[in-house]
Amino acid sequence: MHTLRWQHVTGGCMAQIVNTPSYVKDVAASEGLMSQRRRRTIIAFLFILPALVNFTVFRYLPIIASFRTSLYQYSLLGGYGSFIGFQHYARLIHDPVFWKSLSVTTRFVIYKVPIQIVLSLGLAMLVQRETFGAGVVRSAILTPMVTSIIILSILWAMMYHSQLGLIQSILGIFGIPHLSILSNPNRALPAITVMMIWKDLGFSMIILLAGLKGIPGEYYDAALVDGANKWQAFIHITIPLLKPVLMFVIVTQTVFSFQVFVPVYQMTKGGPLDSTKAIVYYIYQQGFSYQDMGYASALAMVTLVLLLVISYFQMRFLRAEA
């Protein structure tokens, strides 16, 4: 059995994490003291300790509690019932709505993430110049990102509205008659996807902007001297140097998109005909509306494992591309 090698998971950065920088070894060796090295290890540990304490108390305790819950008949109001082992997990395999929600979520991620990454990279390139116009556009793009997703969902539901929506008016200019969007099972998910790309573009763009800022200008100057054009510079300098940040954006956006919840909760309630029932919404529904937090927790544990696997392959694949 092939064991997961986690240094792969973290891509390029992990190689450096795992291979201790040479200077540390040198210094430790020159001092020739084991205790010195141990002292350094302890000091190093102090740097991560606060975060570890936080994650253990505020993330892992709840996760462990959820796992325990998934083995019981459990509802929030009624409390714990009988221990049923992995029955919730067995039930999940035969639950058509679970599979439907998985497919809805997967489609959402597959539509959203690539488009969002390409657009945000393009926009980052466009607005990184320090002109007045670029500044205005940059602020405009960041506006949806800083606005509450609940408010945005309400606004977009109004814009999509089949009778009153602003989008209907715009479609009307091109001669397209009124369309049902959120009440049409084929259009509701793409509509939410478009809105979420619009909302999250700023988020990925700002990280890419910071990444672009980190690329030293001398590289481009050198490329210019060698007679490279902008496109060549982009392919041979920007992309390779931006890769860790790009990898990071892709992985985190995949994870966040997989957990889409509020727009579904606010705009469509998972419908019509389950066409927008994303996995986290289904979990919420099972736990809070259907009074079955035990089953909801089992769904959540499966989601956790799925995301682990997806992230693993993403990081591995992106690293192999280097």
């Binding site: 102090l46 300790l49 606060p50 304490v53 008949q73 509802s75 929030l76 109001l77 009624g78 409390g79 509205h161 089949s162 009778q163 009153l164 008659p177 009124h178 049902s180 959120l182 009440s183 049409n184 099972p185 084929n186 030293p216 469509t268 309630k269 998972g270 419908g271 019509p272 005909l273 389950d274 529904q285 809070f288 509306s289 259907y290 009074q291 079955d292 937090m293």
Partner: protein, 511 residues
């Protein structure tokens, strides 16, 4: 090599100061605002945050316990300070005489309800000297989040004393022992002062649990200018139009003045808000059955079976009608609901409880909205009905002040509390004595609601799984009006199966 950015330092320092310096200010200011700061709490809160910042790992424990203690202490001390009055000599109030008691009460964010609650709470503390130092701390959450909030509070053992329970959820809370029975605190005569419907909704397995705040019944409002223009005269009585007659009227008032293919004026909106919930939309299917028939009952007497009740031929026919109102060749209501459609004069009719009158008065204070009320449409070969029930007052078993909480619930549902409540909310009272004392309920239009309450009102389906049912029912209604091909009968049957699966855990609850 990259240029260093020394500017980061001042920025970081500034943020750091903001947090460290801001913490004590912050813990103070809100309490100061309410005029209840206690000196001891303020000073201990001041010392905690810097400690947390300087030695993170070591002081974790300190951080996690100390400030919290100060905050809660501050709250109780504050309560003590504000209400530190003499009075309270009776030890039966649940605490030592003079001791301040704070009752945590979860409620919904609704301006009218908040006003009513605060007014009743004030009257309560004046009602008896022993309650003079009782503070009711209302914690309001949006309607949609009320249920999750209560669930989370119950699941985590939070110290809530009371909460507002939607009528059909009372059984759910009672089943899960999230509220305590109050039967012993009422005589049989006292229970007869409310409408039988609201007592039934406040009861579980024949035991009374939660007194009602008010009643409700949905009838059909109309925009008089629009009906006049269409030459319609809706009857001013509860026994109004049948579905067929109503549909004809809705069609007549659906107008496309611009000729764009999209009506500029719609015939009807069935229900409040934009959600297609059971309170109003659930009436249609039950109306399709004769009184006492399975369709009319809506759920089997066991409270968990829907096959044969939700999916009878008449019920399915009514769901198909519902779809045709939205998606038929000549729709009479927008397939995607429009906010405030009736109040913005964009639809001629609306099915709504009597609080619509309050909304109209608020939006059109000059009286330039002419409206009338007629009966709720019903199937000629079925039953006319409206869903009753409103909010009830539940007492949590976790309360440390059971006697006081029960007294509050009794007062809120009692004659004086109900009168104050009505003066703020203006919705159909649940108490006969109050209803009889209000002259407006003997005059059109409110008289119709009074009459509707006595003649056509039925409680919503009785099951501890109402929350589950309501959620699946809402999805069903949404899917029924979806664009494209929709197989209504199989959707309804599917929903019945889903409901039964979700409610299986309650099997045998009422035996």
């Amino acid at each position: 090599m990259k240029k260093r950015r020394p500017l980061f330092l001042p920025v970081a320092a500034l943020l750091f100061l903001a947090a460290c310096g801001g913490a004590p200010a912050a813990t103070n200011s809100p309490t100061t605002a309410s005029g209840t700061t206690s000196q001891a709490a303020a000073t201990s809160a001041e010392t905690a945050p810097p400690a947390a910042m300087s030695a993170p790992a070591a002081t974790m424990a300190a951080v996690t316990s100390a400030p919290a203690a100060t905050m809660t202490e501050a709250a109780t001390m504050a309560a003590a300070a504000t209400t530190a009055a003499p009075a309270a000599t009776s030890a039966s109030a649940g605490g030592a005489p003079g001791a301040a008691v704070t009752i945590n009460f979860i409620t919904i964010d609704d301006p009218d309800l908040l006003l009513a609650q605060q007014a009743v709470a004030q009257a309560f503390s004046k009602s008896d000297p022993k309650y003079a130092n009782v503070t009711i701390n209302f914690q309001s959450v949006p309607f949609e989040q009320l249920f999750p909030k209560i669930e989370s509070a119950v699941a985590s053992g939070a110290n809530i004393d009371m909460f507002l329970a939607d009528a059909p959820d009372v059984k759910h809370y009672a089943y899960n022992k999230a509220i305590i029975p109050l039967q012993d605190y009422y005589t049989a005569d006292e229970l007869k002062q409310w409408t039988p419907g609201s007592v039934a909704e406040g009861s579980f397995k024949g035991v009374f649990y939660a007194p009602p705040s008010m009643e409700s019944c949905s009838l059909m409002f109309y925009n008089k200018d629009m009906t006049d223009a269409a030459g319609l005269q809706p009857p001013a009585k509860v026994q109004g139009w049948t579905m067929q007659e109503a549909l004809a009227a809705w069609k007549k008032t659906t107008l496309d003045k611009n000729g764009t293919g999209t009506p500029t004026q719609w015939g009807v909106r069935w229900g409040q808000g934009t959600y297609q919930g059971d309170y109003e939309a659930g009436i249609i299917r039950r109306s399709a059955g004769k009184k006492g028939s399975p369709t009319n009952m809506g759920i089997a007497p066991d409270g968990v079976t829907f096959h044969g009740y939700l999916d009878t031929p008449e019920a399915i026919k009514s769901f198909e009608d519902y779809r045709s109102w939205h998606r038929g060749a000549t729709p009479v209501t927008p397939a995607e609901p429009i906010n405030n459609i009736f109040f913005n004069k964009q639809s001629a009719f609306v099915v709504y409880p009597d609080n619509a009158i309050g909304t109209i008065n608020r939006l059109y204070p000059n009286g330039d909205f002419h409206y009338g009320v007629t009966g709720i449409p019903y199937y000629a070969d079925g039953t006319q009905l409206c869903h009753g029930g409103s909010w009830h007052f539940g007492v949590s078993p976790r309360t440390a002040n059971k006697d006081i909480s029960v007294a509050i619930a009794k007062f809120f549902g009692g004659p004086e509390g109900s009168r104050i409540w009505y003066s703020k909310v203006h919705q159909l009272p649940a108490r006969y004595d109050l209803l009889a004392s209000l002259p407006e309920y003997n005059k059109y239009p409110q008289q119709l609601f009074n009459e509707g309450l006595k003649t056509i009102e039925v409680p919503r389906i009785e099951t501890p799984g109402y929350t589950e049912y309501q959620s699946i029912f809402g999805e069903l209604m949404q899917s029924i009006v979806a664009e494209g091909t929709v197989d209504v009968p199989s959707l309804v049957k599917d929903a019945a199966t889903k409901m039964e699966a979700a409610l299986a855990k309650y099997k045998g609850w009422n035996q």
